[in-house]
Amino acid sequence: MLGFVIRRVLQMVPMLAAIALLIFVLFSVIPGSFATGQQDEGLGLDMAVVARMRAELGLDDPLHVRFGAYVKQLATLDLGVSFRSRQPVADMIAARLWPSLKLTIAAMGFAIVIGLPLGFVAALRPGSLVDLGLMVIAVSGLSLPKFWLGILLMYLFALTLGWFPSFGYGQGGLWHLTLPALALGVSPMALLARTTRAAVLDIMNADFVRTARSKGMNEYRVVVWHVLRNALVLVLTTIGLQFGSLLGQGVVVEKLFAWPGVGSLLVDSVFQRDIPAVQGCILVITMFFLVINTSVDIAYKLIDPRIRYT
């Protein structure tokens, strides 16, 4: 088991390196990109200042030198210094990380707490009105733009009813968290409900469930003793993938609700053409995505004894 964990963690290293390279290439190599954008935009910057900045930031060095410097930086967990605020990017992101994670965890928690039982209920009565209704809700949930849902929630629960604040982080409590988490959580909830339903239907037709029935078990025990865990294994992958991608999708919701997370930092940095901050945000979000996927693989191994130690 330990060997598996170590191997799985080590597999992340080449992937991270590839991602770092990709980000570097995107932002440093493509001609006319970002780095030179300051002139085209006509922001009224003095060309001499730009030239001095470029030299200072090492942007005029040959590519391989720059990539070497970039990797060396990353290796020491240094994400560079922001062009704008002149603060270390790592510090800027660190301050934003917890709000982002909190939002993602809350959204995913909502998705799991609501989506799993809905999928189960639908699967236990396939073809029923309940099933049909739940699946209509699920496909609708998948088709909703998150930010539109956010705007609707904001209008209804914040501006009209006044139950929740319309935006901001406040003291970081549940009161401010609720609406953004709902806006972000509905589509993974819908997806989970669908996946769970499919998984449970699959398992309910499995031979071992027939065996369980032939033992004289009632349906409740069949479900709790034999279906639940097996269906969860199938659903776990979806949970992991969703959890990871929510960090990315959270960008829109963070921006809408003025939530001080990595996502809104990313968008703001894009508009400020703050390359180190943009690169840093993308790298951190992607790294979390990788870490979560790896953890899911490891969790998978823990609950499913069939997966071999490879």
Binding site: S143, L144, W148, I151
Partner: protein, 272 residues
């Protein structure tokens, strides 16, 4: 029963959005950008302005009609790029195998390791706003499923008798891939492209909402919602109709995709 309901409702909604996308300019009452009239600013829905007017007095109905063009152009364009990349890489990787297969696999894994919206956002940041950038950004970032499926199909079909026979008959690799393998991967790929188109439209709206998609005067549903947010207290209807348009279009594509999956790809039914 349910299968047909999926197809019927999904197909109907999709046809409706396509119709609006193509005939939007004729359906619209006014020019979506030029017909600003501050005298008419922020009027609620009425007989004259069915969906109301925005801050600058532009007719929301007309803007929503024009918006369909942008959404569908980006949706279709990006899916064409995705499908082209995905099938080309997938089919060649599965058919040729070897180092090329390893390379394509690595690339696919890399794509899957980056949240696609973030990747698209990065590309938009580099290319700058605009329709073409959107199609490229969303077209470069969502081909991994297509690639995996066509690779698996190519692998499965490669070993079958008729492909072997074609090879013995001296058919070239390209001909075999195009005439024998590609047609067999069509079903699942159409399903992925349909569902993916819904995803692209959502992503386009999100990027435009963030200000990174289509530039503001253009009537993109996402950027309309971005503007509408500022007047949500005084003119909430501005937030309603563009969002509803996105929702119905994507819902139609999702239902259609589900329905098509039941028909074209029965074994993967209800998976994922």
């Amino acid at each position: 029963m349910k299968l047909r309901a999926n197809l019927a409702i999904g197909g109907g909604l999709t046809l409706l959005s396509l119709f609006v996308g193509v005939f939007g300019p004729w359906l619209a009452h006014t020019d979506p950008i030029m017909d600003a009239n501050l005298m008419n600013a922020e009027l609620p829905p009425s007989g004259e302005f069915w969906f109301g007017t925005d801050q600058q007095g532009r007719d929301i109905f007309s803007r929503v009609m024009y918006g369909a063009q942008i959404s569908l152009t980006v949706g279709i364009g990006s899916q064409l790029i995705n499908t082209a990349i995905g099938t080309t890489l997938g089919v060649t990787a599965g058919y040729w195998g070897g180092w090329w297969d390893d390379f394509v696999n690595g690339l696919t894994n890399l794509m899957l390791a980056i949240p696609s919206l973030i990747f698209a956002l990065a590309i938009m940041a580099i290319l700058g706003p605009g329709l073409t950038s959107l199609m490229i950004a969303l077209g470069l970032t969502n081909w991994s499923y297509t690639c995996r499926i066509s690779r698996a199909q190519a692998l499965a079909i490669k070993s079958q008798g008729y492909v072997q026979a074609a090879r013995v008959l001296g058919y070239g690799d390209m001909r075999i891939m195009f005439t024998q393998i590609l047609p067999n991967t069509l079903g699942p790929i159409i399903v992925i492209a349909t569902l993916g188109m819904g995803g692209s439209i959502l992503a386009e709206a999100a990027l435009s909402f963030l200000g990174l998609g289509v530039r503001p005067p253009s009537p993109s549903w996402g950027s309309m919602l971005s503007d509408a947010r500022e007047t949500i207290t005084t003119a909430p209807w501005l937030s309603l109709f563009p969002g509803l348009a996105i929702f119905l279009t994507v819902l139609g594509l999702n239902l259609l995709g589900d329905g098509l999956r039941d028909v074209l790809d029965p074994q993967s039914r209800s998976r994922r």
